[in-house]
């Protein structure tokens, strides 16, 4: 297959009912008419047996800082990422807001995190989001439009060849049995997870060390220097790993976009063809024997000892590998424009969202050579029966779930 512009499966948000309830209460009781952007956080859920996406929960309204928290269960496979909630007072304000400016401002935050190297320590910063919304608390109707800013290099991202299953993609050119490489990679990912209380980071690398694959956090990889990484790449000993919400066999998910820009800028791999493992973990449960009934006391004691450390390894059999040419961004990096520091960040998005007197607001915070994409798309049926994916918000009517009067009516 000829090299082609890489196409990514768009991200989708999965807002929980509790998120809407928390959003409505925060708007009514705390924010009131103040419609500045509020900090939020969410989890990027990988494709586990079904499509993943951005999971917004009641606790999402608050500062991102959950990286340090010990995660369990599905959360161990779902990295956290920061974002903003932009709750407009009226639908008209939401309609008139400059969407390109909001997206551009959020993308500029991603760019600043990449250029400054912050994304190396907290890869979740690469999956920043914005949720533009309006909450009608009389009817319990919400208009919700999430955006997932992706940095788009001028020349796009070029894919080399077809996407391959993880086993074939990881073993290509190595002369090693695919199943062996897959198992090695799976163990390396499990070892990284075991070291991290929060579970999987959004992105990391797999590097071949002493003939075996090992997982390295981004900061560790960057500290090795571009020359070392390029040498590994030349011997097929380097793979970028990204937690992937896409369930498609031929297409990577949205999270890979900013990770590839990061690889160009922070890892110095611009112009190189980099294999990307789109990680869609298949949780691999421990094979546990039931308690030995001949010695129930010993069995229960052993079980109690293990209970604090549940096994949470992953299998990679559902993941894919795509080979992508990293964008050359050296010139763009030199022209980096940073966001204002500190508390001004939260207000920055809102300021950009409001058009100025001439009805325009600029995207100037993104350097020349980069643009942004990422407003959530919905499948919309045209009159001729065909379906198109259009950037547009969704309306969520939760009257039956949140309105006390309707709840009483439907109870039983």
């Amino acid at each position: 297959m000829e090299p082609s512009t890489m196409k990514f499966k768009p991200m989708r948000a999965a807002p929980q009912a509790s998120f809407f309830k928390a959003l409505g209460e925060a708007k009514l009781q705390q924010w009131k008419l103040d419609d500045r952007a509020r900090p939020a956080w969410a989890r990027i859920v990988p494709a586990i047996r079904t499509e993943g996406g951005l999971r917004l929960e009641a606790s999402s309204l608050g500062e991102h800082g959950r990286d340090a928290v010990v995660a369990a269960g599905t959360d161990r496979l779902s990295p956290t990422c920061p974002g903003h909630v932009l709750c407009f007072n009226t639908l008209e304000q939401m309609q008139k807001a400059d969407k390109a400016a909001v997206l551009g401002a959020a993308a500029a935050l991603v760019w600043a995190d990449i250029v400054s190297g912050r994304a190396l320590d907290s890869p979740g910063l690469l999956a920043r989001f914005v949720v533009a919304c309006h909450a009608d608390m009389k009817q319990h109707k919400f208009v919700l439009w999430p955006a997932f800013p992706a940095l788009v290099p001028e020349d796009g991202l070029v894919q080399e060849g077809e996407a391959l299953p993880a086993s074939a993609g990881l073993s290509a050119g190595l002369g090693v049995e695919p199943a062996v490489v897959l198992e090695e990679a799976s163990e390396a990912v499990a070892a990284l997870m075991a070291r991290s209380p929060a579970g999987l980071p959004l992105a990391f690398v797999l590097a071949r060390r002493d003939g075996k694959l090992a997982a390295q956090p981004l900061r560790e990889a960057a500290d090795r220097g571009a020359a070392s990484l390029r040498a590994d790449l030349a011997t097929r000993g380097l793979v970028l790993v990204v937690v992937d919400p896409s369930p498609l066999a031929r297409h990577a998910g949205w999270t890979a976009r900013n990770a590839l820009v990061m690889a160009s800028v922070c890892l110095g791999l611009g112009g190189e063809v980099l294999p990307v493992l789109c990680l869609r973990p298949s949780p691999r449960g421990a094979v546990v024997d039931p308690p030995d009934h001949a010695r129930p006391d010993e069995a229960s004691a052993a079980a109690a000892g293990e209970s604090s450390a549940p096994t949470a390894t992953t299998a990679l059999c559902g993941s894919i590998v795509v080979r992508v040419r990293c964008p050359g961004l050296e010139g763009v990096a030199a022209a980096a424009v940073g966001p204002p520091p500190g508390e001004a960040l939260a207000g920055w998005l809102a300021a950009d969202a409001a058009p100025d007197a001439e009805g325009t607001s600029s995207l100037s915070r993104l350097p020349r050579g980069l643009s942004a994409a990422g407003w959530e798309r919905q499948p919309v049926r045209a009159k001729d029966g065909s379906t198109a994916m259009l950037s547009r918000p969704r309306v969520v009517d939760l009257g039956r779930l949140l309105d006390p009067a309707k709840l009483a009516e439907s109870a039983g």
Binding site: K9, P10, I48, G73, R250, R377, L390, S410
Partner: protein, 374 residues
């Protein structure tokens, strides 16, 4: 109806208030759990199926007899591929190949409602069939999703576009009986509430799967709006982006019910578009005999301020578990051996709960051991 329901919930709460916490094990005799046994069974479940996690819930609703961080168990994002009604109609047509495996357990993917109901009533018989002596995890590779044919379009190719319309409505893909039309109505309702095309923000981006099609068909984008064949690109977008089955998902909670001294299931569903399901939509995933009877909309015990969830009433749980215990004893296990298996309570429990919600694919534990029954 509402008053009956409120009175029932009030009665339950009062009973729970005056029911003493169980301190000695009655698993073998009554099929119930002490709080300590519930925690041990939860830990065992997590060891077998690590996607389950303990949750603390809201602080004011904590039960003092549980550790603060182990109040209830939660499994997030469980896929649910089809509605129970489609299973039931398949069964009526005789289209279901097998409802139970060789050991008598209901299979989630092929279950038939009548057999499901019979397992809840006579769960003990199902457990006595010599299950293998270990528990295993068994997931399918995710890449096969793209190849899963849509169950509604499989027998009607002309309906493909209408089915995508159902996805667009985001409500009822896979429902039996005019679901595409209903979803279309939902989309129209949304458009009546607000002009969704009036928000702007359409962007041309070659890297977005399906973006060229959207810009081409509506002319909203700039660079992407000049595709030579808008119809062809739309078809490609559909092929690439929508040909996999988008599923409902559920968050499944296992809560200890102090009044019944058994686990209790709460279900919070999300539609194919990721937005929360209404109670009546959740009932589409409950076997008809149980919907609005055994399964009702309730406030979650540990999330009282959250929206209501569907809950499976625990009144028959202990009886079903007692039958499983009886079958173990009949198979030759001693009382001590069976008592030693209380840690596996939740594994057995999830098996027979599957009969109420056969299409919610939460059970990744494969077969449950009944060693000694051979």
């Amino acid at each position: 109806m509402a008053h009956t329901h409120i009175a029932s919930r009030l009665f339950h709460d009062v009973v729970g208030m005056f029911t003493p916490v169980l301190t000695s094990s009655r698993f073998v005799d009554e099929g119930v759990l002490t709080p300590e046994e519930f925690v041990a069974a939860g830990d065992a479940l997590i060891r077998v199926s690590p996607l389950w996690q303990w949750e603390a819930g809201e602080p004011e609703s904590r039960q003092p007899f549980f550790p603060a961080d182990k109040q209830y168990l939660l499994l997030k994002g469980v896929p649910c591929s089809q509605r129970v009604s489609s299973l039931e109609s398949s069964f009526r047509k005789g289209g279901v190949c097998e409802s139970t495996d060789e050991d008598g357990w209901l299979r989630a993917d092929t279950g038939e409602p009548e057999a499901a109901a019979s397992i809840l009533v006579s769960g003990g018989e199902a457990a006595g069939g010599g299950l293998s002596s270990f528990v295993r995890d068994d997931y399918e590779p995710i890449q096969s999703l793209e190849e899963i044919p849509s169950h509604t379009s499989a027998d009607d190719e002309a309906g493909a576009a209408a089915e995508v319309g159902a996805t667009a409505g985001g409500r009822a893909q896979g429902d039996v009986g005019g679901d595409a039309a209903a979803a279309g109505d939902d989309a129209e309702d949304d458009d009546e509430y607000v002009d969704l095309d009036g928000f702007g923000g359409e962007e041309a981006d070659e890297g977005t799967l399906g973006a060229a099609a959207s810009a081409g068909s509506h002319g909203a984008g700039s660079a992407g709006g000049t595709h030579p064949s808008a119809a062809a690109s739309r078809a490609r977008a559909f092929e690439d982006d929508e040909a996999f089955e988008r599923r409902r998902t559920y968050d499944v909670s296992l809560v200890y019910d102090k009044a019944y001294r058994t686990p209790r299931v709460f279900l919070m569903g999300h539609g194919e578009d990721g937005t929360p399901l209404l109670p009546e939509q959740v009932m589409e995933d409950v076997v008809t005999d149980y919907a609005n009877k055994t399964v009702t909309a309730e406030a979650h015990f540990h999330l009282p301020s959250a929206p209501v969830q569907a809950s499976i009433h625990p009144c028959r749980h202990a009886a079903a578990m007692t039958r499983i215990v009886a079958s173990l004893l009949e198979a030759g296990a001693t009382r001590e051996e069976v008592a030693g298996r209380v840690e596996l309570y939740l594994l057995y429990f999830l098996k027979f709960i599957q009969s109420v919600v056969p299409t919610i694919e939460y059970d990744s534990t494969g077969e449950v051991a009944v060693r000694g029954a051979e």
